[in-house]
């Protein structure tokens, strides 16, 4: 998804998908105007039609795709699963890349959450010298574009760590690049937990580890989910990091790398490209639709990364 720096929203903002009835509304009248409805309809169409076109194309026979536009499918419904058979088991199978995407993504989501929640806890609830300065430093690192780190990091993997072309190089890189935003977001959520809860746990004799895992983490599950979705979409959809570290290793490279390669080398093989593009989209779309609420909440809490 989106490549961006983090943001901090300081205005009180509510979950837009969680609509509560309110006394007054700004635009109660807006959609009663036919022009407003028309404008909304035009935008909605522009935003869906391109995707729909490629989706329909992915189910059309190879020859038909070349001979006529996808809109002809409504006069002449000739649909097939051949394109998907081709990319899932044929000569240009993407199945292995799909596996790679899954194998790359899961640790790249789990590891930063693990590391960041531990660090965020310390920044939020432990006292040590230089804490605030360090936290600001970590927070500031969010604005560093990852391009700045890529080449030296690649050299480090190649020369010192001997990890180039392995999953490890991608896992570690995604973990590192995720940490500033993750620590910042989780810190903010942990800080919102009432201090009485923490004190009560302390009185009961719980140490920091117990408090973190037994009290805090269960309470901030929505925040973990929100960050998890960000990171999931970011890693699954990433091209630059994978291209840099495992781009030359088909055995490890994810779907995005392969599909981008196909777009370059077989730019007019739309039967492959359309099905391939949708294979790469299906998982994030499912995750996104299923967990949209958390995603929106995370967005509003100030997270959009890159």
């Amino acid at each position: 998804m989106t490549a961006t720096a983090p943001i901090l929203i300081e205005t009180p903002i509510r979950d837009p998908l969680n609509r509560r009835p309110r006394a007054a509304s700004l635009a109660k009248t807006s959609l009663t105007s036919p022009w407003a409805s028309l404008a909304a309809l035009v935008i909605a169409t522009l935003w869906t039609l391109p995707t729909l076109g490629l989706l329909i194309t992915s189910f059309r026979p190879q020859l038909a795709i070349q001979r006529s536009g996808w809109w002809n499918v409504f006069n002449d419904p000739d649909l097939t699963l051949d394109n998907y058979r081709e990319i899932l088991g044929g000569d240009s199978s993407l199945a292995e890349y799909f596996v790679n995407s899954v194998v790359i993504t899961i640790p790249s989501v789990v590891l930063p959450i693990l590391l960041a929640s531990i660090a965020a806890y310390a920044f939020a609830w432990m006292k040590f010298r230089g804490r605030d300065t360090l936290f600001v430093a970590v927070f500031t690192l969010q604005i560093v574009p990852l391009q700045v780190a890529l080449i030296p990091l690649l050299k480090l993997y190649v020369n010192q760590l001997h990890l180039s072309g392995t999953y490890w190089s991608v896992w570690l890189s995604h973990t590192i690049f995720a940490l500033p935003l993750a620590i910042f977001l989780l810190h903010n959520f942990m800080k919102q937990i009432p201090i009485e809860l923490i004190d009560a746990a302390r009185v009961d004799g719980a140490g920091h580890v117990r408090i973190l895992f037994k009290v805090l983490l269960p309470l901030i599950t929505p925040a973990l989910a929100a960050f998890g979705i960000f990171q999931f979409l970011w890693v699954w959809n990433d091209l630059l990091v994978s291209l840099t570290f495992v781009g030359g290793t088909p055995e490890v490279a994810p779907l995005t790398v392969r599909v981008a390669e196909l777009a370059g080398s077989r730019g007019s093989a739309w039967y492959l490209l359309s099905a391939g593009a949708f294979l790469s989209m299906v998982v994030p779309l499912i995750v996104f639709l299923a967990l949209q609420r958390y995603f929106v909440r995370g967005l509003l809490a100030g997270g959009l990364k890159g």
């Binding site: 720096a5 009180p12 391109p50 590391l115 091209l239």
Partner: protein
């Protein structure tokens, strides 16, 4: 490697990580004397800081250093790489394109997102209407580029068009166009559209939430004063959500600055459509000019700073009020 072996490696990695950090935390929690708290704090914070130091800070410093060195990093060249970026015609085109992206994408995405948020606010089916605009956020830049490349697909006039845009042109009686071959910088606009398409959903989400957070008494008061429609929007809505608008503009601006996947997938930076992030990749990995590549990366960083500074200043102002 078989699929099983891959998943095996994955679980080993997660297990190893958990084990290492688990043991660090447990060992630290054993500490009993006066230093206990400090040791524990270290155990909690240092692993993450170590990752950041080795994986982000140290590489960034090295990149800055490399940006003052020659293509093969063998000699010191001062600010030559930066001068090259500013003076070489090819790279000036890259800079110009980047400016076009940076201006158009935030403005267009924010305007469309805001318009749509206002239009569907409180309407029936609002959640569904929003999902339609929101959905491109889940799609990778690569996927979105392929979707739009297909919209722009070109066949010579006289052949059946399979790209939607050319079909529309032909139906209206115009000639079909190969949009990427249009004179630069016009062809860049067709790439910019993709980013706007992706980012409008983000703008809409944030701005919609901001609109819903406007206190209802303000709106009621304005309504009693006779404000409606456009007037209400300009006098009440827009000033109330100004901080959110700034956040959206700057966030999208920073994201746009680093856009790489779209250019690479759609044109590969050919036909004078390249941008800084794409040129960084080409110089670093294709032409092996590490000095120039590093300078372009540093340039990206430098360009982020004023945007962030503006954001922070505006938010401070909003807070002070």
């Amino acid at each position: 490697m078989s699929t099983g072996a891959k998943f095996g490696q994955m679980f080993v990695a997660i297990g190893l990580f958990t084990l290492v950090f688990g043991s660090i935390l447990l060992l630290a929690s054993r500490a009993k004397d006066r230093a206990a708290e400090r040791i524990q704090a270290g155990a909690f914070v240092l692993p993450a800081l170590l990752f950041l130091a080795v994986g982000l800070i140290y590489p960034a410093i090295l990149t800055v250093y490399e940006s003052f060195r020659s293509a093969d990093s063998s000699s010191f060249v001062g600010i030559d790489n930066y001068l090259t970026i500013l003076t070489q015609p090819d790279l000036q085109v890259v800079l110009r394109n980047t400016v076009i992206w940076m201006v158009l994408v935030p403005l267009a995405a924010t305007a469309i997102g805001l318009l749509y948020a206002v239009l569907v606010d409180r309407a029936r089916g609002e959640a569904f209407a929003k999902s339609l605009i929101f959905l491109p956020m889940a799609i990778s830049f690569v996927g979105a580029s392929i979707i739009w490349k297909f919209v722009y697909e070109y066949k010579p006039t006289g052949f059946a068009q399979i790209g939607l845009l050319n079909e529309i042109l032909v139906t209206l009686g115009f000639d079909a166009q190969n949009f990427f071959l249009l004179p630069s910088p016009w062809n860049t606009l067709f790439l910019v559209v993709v980013m706007v398409w992706i980012q409008a959903g983000f703008a809409m989400t944030i701005l919609s939430a901001a609109i819903k957070a406007i206190p209802s008494d303000i709106i009621e008061a304005a309504r009693l004063d006779g404000a409606t429609g456009v007037k209400m929007f300009r006098r009440i809505t827009l000033p109330s959500i100004r901080p959110a608008v700034i956040v959206v503009l700057t966030t999208i601006g920073i994201g746009t600055l680093k856009v790489f996947d779209i250019v690479r997938t759609m044109t590969g930076g050919q036909f004078e459509t390249s941008v800084v992030a794409n040129e960084f990749y080409n110089q670093s990995f294709i032409y092996n000019n590490t000095g120039l590549g590093a300078a372009l990366a540093v340039l990206l960083f430098i360009l982020v700073i004023p945007v962030v500074a503006y954001n922070v200043r505006q938010l401070r102002k909003a807070d002070a009020r």
